[in-house]
Symmetry: C2
C-alpha cells in the first residue's frame, strides 16, 4: 500500500459534469496498491486504515491522471524538415504531396526501414513522452500502405507494448492515402484493405481501431463507410481523420457509425459536430497540426458549447505535427481555441481515454482505476498550462510504478537551491 | 586548449551576409582556450597545432552559438495565471489592466518581495534558460516603479551577474507604466525617472540600456524621446517597446534616436520599419507575446525583405509571455512569421547580440570571440526548429566551461538504448 501526500492540488478528472469539471482537491492524498488506486481525497479525510502505508512525497506539486495522447502516428522512418521550410515559403500541403512529398515520402522511407529500426525510434519517442507525463498513447499504422509493411508497423506496436511501460492502443490506418502503386486502382487497394488486411489484423489482434483519412487527397465518405463497416464486423472500433483541410462529411459519418472519435475537424460543419455530440462521438482536436499548417484552429470552444466532448492530442507525425509535446498542445488549445486549462486537461485524460476505449481503466484518479499519474512542478492546473516550460513533469507513474523521474539536478527546477 | 569534434553541423552565425546566412560547416571542429575561441572550420582542415588539444565529443550533434535572449522581464514576484484564463474568456489586455491587473498587479507583488526572494526566483529561471542553450539574457527592471524598488531590481541583476554564469545585460525600464501613486502627476513621475533614477543608475553602473514602453496605456513618443535623450547623456543606450498594441510612432522614434533596438512592433508602420532598417536599429520580434495575446504575429518576413535585421526573443514576463523557452519562440517565428530556421537562429544569436551591444564578444562562433555555445541533439538547424521537443539541448558552454549538461539518462534522448 502506497500513500502519496504533500500535494498542492490533485485533479481527479472524474467523468461526471461538464468538460471543465475536473474535480480538483486541495491538499490531497492518493492511495494505491498493486497498480490500482484504492482511495483519493483530501489528506485530512484519509481513512485510518491507510495511515500505515508507505509514504511518497509529491513535493508540494500538482497531481494529474497520466496523460492520454489519443492520436499519434508513432512509428515511421525519416523526417520531413525540408517540407517545413517549403511550407514557410508558401507551398501548400497539397502541392507538396503532389510533388512526391508528404505521406508518400514517409511511406517510402518507412518501407525501407527494418522493424527493429522502427521500434527503436518509436521507443525513443515513447521515453520522451513518458517524461512529459504521458502514460497512454494511441498509435496508428499508415506509412506502410501495403500488406507486409502495414502488418509490420502493427507488429512493432505489439512488440513495444511488451517492451516498455507506456500503454499503447494500436489503430490500423491502412486508409491513410492510396499508395502510388494503386494510383489507377483505388478499388484494388480498398479490396486489399477489406479482404486481406483487416481479417489478418483481427486474427492476430493487432489493432483496436480502424481509422480512415477522409479528404480529397485520400478517401471518400463512401469508401470510409464501407471500410469501417467491414472493420466493425471483425470487432474493430471506428475512428476518422475528418474535415481537416476541407469539409467533406466526415463528422456526419462518424456520428452515423457511432465512431469512438472523429479527429481534426478544422473544417467540420456545425451540423456534423451536433450529430457527433448527439451520438457520443469524441471530437479530437489537434492544435499542433493547425499551428504547423498555418490553419485557423478548430473552434473547440463552440464544440464544447454545442455539447461535444473534446479531446486534445498531438497528432505526432513527421509532416504536419512533428512534436509529441502533449502539454504544449494543451497550452495551444487554451490560447488558440479558448479552451480553459481545466477543459484542456479533461480533454487529455478521461475524454481522451474514452476516445481510445479505455475510460474504464485509465484517464481519471478514482478507486479501482489504474494508478497512472504524473506529479508536476506547478501549484495548480491553470498555472501549469499558462507557464509554458520545457517540461514541468517531475515523476510519471504507470500501474503504481515510477517509470520516470526528473534527475536530482533538474528536479529543483525553477526553485534554485544555490540562489545568491 | 580544447577541441570539440564529432559535430554534424556547426552554424557560425557570422554577421556577414543576409539574415539567412548562418554560415554552416558540416563535420566541423571548434577549438577554444581559456574561454576564447581559437579556431573553427571543417574537421579535415584542422591546423596541426591543435591536434594535441583535449578532445571533447559533440556526439554527432548540432553546435550553435550560445543563444541570446535579448528581451526579458526576468525579475518579478508572483504570477498571473488568472489573467491567462480571463483572456481566454475574451477579456482584453487593456480591460485587465484597467481592473488593477496587468503590470500594476505584478508591481504590487514585486514591491512586497525581498531582493533575496526576487534573486532566488530569477536564478531559478536562469538555470532553466541555461539548460535550453541560452547563455546571454537581457533583463529589464520595470516592476518596481518607484525609486527604491527600481534600483532594487537592478541590484538583483548585478548580484545575479556575479552569482551565476549566464551573461546578463541589465536594462532600466522605469517607464513601463505610470504607477498608481503618480496617476495624476505624470510629469512628476517622469521627473523622478529623469532627475533622480537615471543619475543614480548611471553612477552605480546598474544598467546598460534605458527602455520605454510607448503605448496608449503607458508613455507617449514625446515622453519617450525626453527620457531616452536624458539617458543617452548619462551613457545609457536606448531601447523601445514600440507599436505593440497600437501604431504610435515608436519605430520612427527608434530610428530617429539610433536606438539599439525597437521591440514588439506588431502594429509598426512600413515607413517606421524602413527607417529602422536605414538607421541600423534591430527589430526585435516577440512571437510568444503575440501568441499569448491572440494577436496577429508581427510581419517579420516583410521586415527582412525591407532590409531590417530581425531578432527573436521571448519577452518572458508573468503576463503576456509567461515562458522563457527561446527555442520554442524560434519555432513560432518560423511557423507564424515565415522566418526560415536559419533566419530565426541568426535572430537569436549575432543579431540579438547586436541588440544588446555585445556583438563584438558573443553571438557567433569565430576566433577571438567568447567560447559560448550549445550542443543540440539534432542533425542540422532546420531539423532542430522543425521538431519541437521539450529540450534538444545536451550541453551548454559559457566562456569555455560546461555550465549545464543533460543527465546521462536523458542525454540518450530519442535514441533509446534499450530498444526492443
Amino acid at each position: 500500500m502506497n500513500l502519496l501526500e504533500n500535494i498542492s492540488q490533485l485533479a481527479t478528472c472524474r467523468p461526471d459534469g461538464g468538460q471543465g469539471d475536473i474535480h480538483t482537491i486541495a491538499d490531497a492524498a492518493l492511495v494505491w496498491d498493486a497498480g490500482t488506486i484504492r482511495w483519493v481525497g483530501p489528506r485530512a479525510e484519509l481513512p485510518s486504515e491507510y495511515l500505515a502505508a508507505r509514504r511518497v512525497d509529491a513535493g508540494g506539486g500538482l497531481v494529474i491522471p497520466g496523460l492520454v495522447d489519443c492520436h499519434t502516428h508513432l512509428a515511421f522512418a525519416g523526417w520531413r524538415a525540408e517540407e517545413f521550410e517549403l511550407r514557410l515559403r508558401g507551398r501548400s500541403y497539397f502541392e507538396i504531396a503532389a510533388a512526391g512529398g508528404g505521406i508518400a515520402r514517409t511511406m517510402r522511407l518507412t518501407r525501407a526501414a527494418s522493424e527493429d529500426e522502427l521500434a527503436a525510434r518509436a521507443h525513443g519517442f515513447l521515453r520522451e513522452m513518458l517524461a512529459l507525463g504521458v502514460t497512454t498513447v494511441e498509435c496508428k499504422s499508415g506509412y506502410g500502405l501495403d500488406r507486409d509493411h502495414e502488418l509490420g508497423l502493427l507488429r512493432v506496436y505489439a512488440a513495444l507494448a511488451r517492451a516498455q511501460p507506456v500503454r499503447l492502443v494500436p489503430t490500423f490506418l491502412g486508409a491513410h492515402v492510396v499508395p502510388p502503386e494503386y494510383r489507377d486502382d483505388r478499388a484494388g487497394y480498398l479490396s486489399l484493405l477489406t479482404d486481406e488486411l483487416l481479417p489478418a489484423i483481427a486474427r492476430e489482434r493487432l489493432a483496436t481501431y480502424c481509422d480512415v483519412f477522409v479528404e480529397r487527397s485520400a478517401f471518400t465518405v463512401e469508401e470510409a463507410r464501407r471500410l469501417l463497416l467491414a472493420a466493425r464486423a471483425l470487432g474493430l472500433g471506428a475512428k476518422l481523420h475528418a474535415d481537416q483541410l476541407s469539409a467533406g462529411g466526415g463528422a456526419e459519418l462518424a456520428a452515423e457509425l457511432g465512431a469512438a472519435s472523429a479527429d481534426h475537424l478544422e473544417c467540420a460543419s456545425d451540423a456534423g459536430i451536433a450529430a457527433m455530440a448527439g451520438a457520443g462521438v469524441v471530437a479530437v482536436s489537434l492544435p499542433l497540426a493547425s499551428l504547423y499548417l498555418g490553419q485557423s484552429p478548430a473552434p473547440a470552444r463552440r464544440w464544447i458549447e454545442a455539447g461535444a466532448a473534446v479531446a486534445v492530442a498531438t497528432d505526432f507525425n513527421p509532416g504536419s505535427a512533428p512534436s509529441y509535446h502533449l502539454p504544449f498542445a494543451l497550452t495551444l488549445a487554451c490560447i488558440l481555441q479558448r479552451m480553459t486549462p481545466a477543459e484542456a486537461l479533461k480533454g487529455a485524460t478521461i475524454i481522451a481515454a474514452r476516445a481510445v476505449g479505455l475510460e474504464a481503466t485509465v484517464g481519471s484518479l478514482e478507486p479501482g482505476k489504474a494508478a497512472d499519474f504524473a506529479i508536476l512542478d506547478a501549484p495548480d492546473v491553470e498555472h501549469w498550462l499558462y507557464h509554458l516550460r520545457a517540461n514541468a513533469c517531475r515523476t510519471t507513474v504507470i500501474a503504481g510504478r515510477p517509470e520516470w523521474r526528473a534527475s536530482a539536478a533538474k528536479s529543483s527546477g525553477e526553485a534554485a537551491p544555490g540562489s545568491p
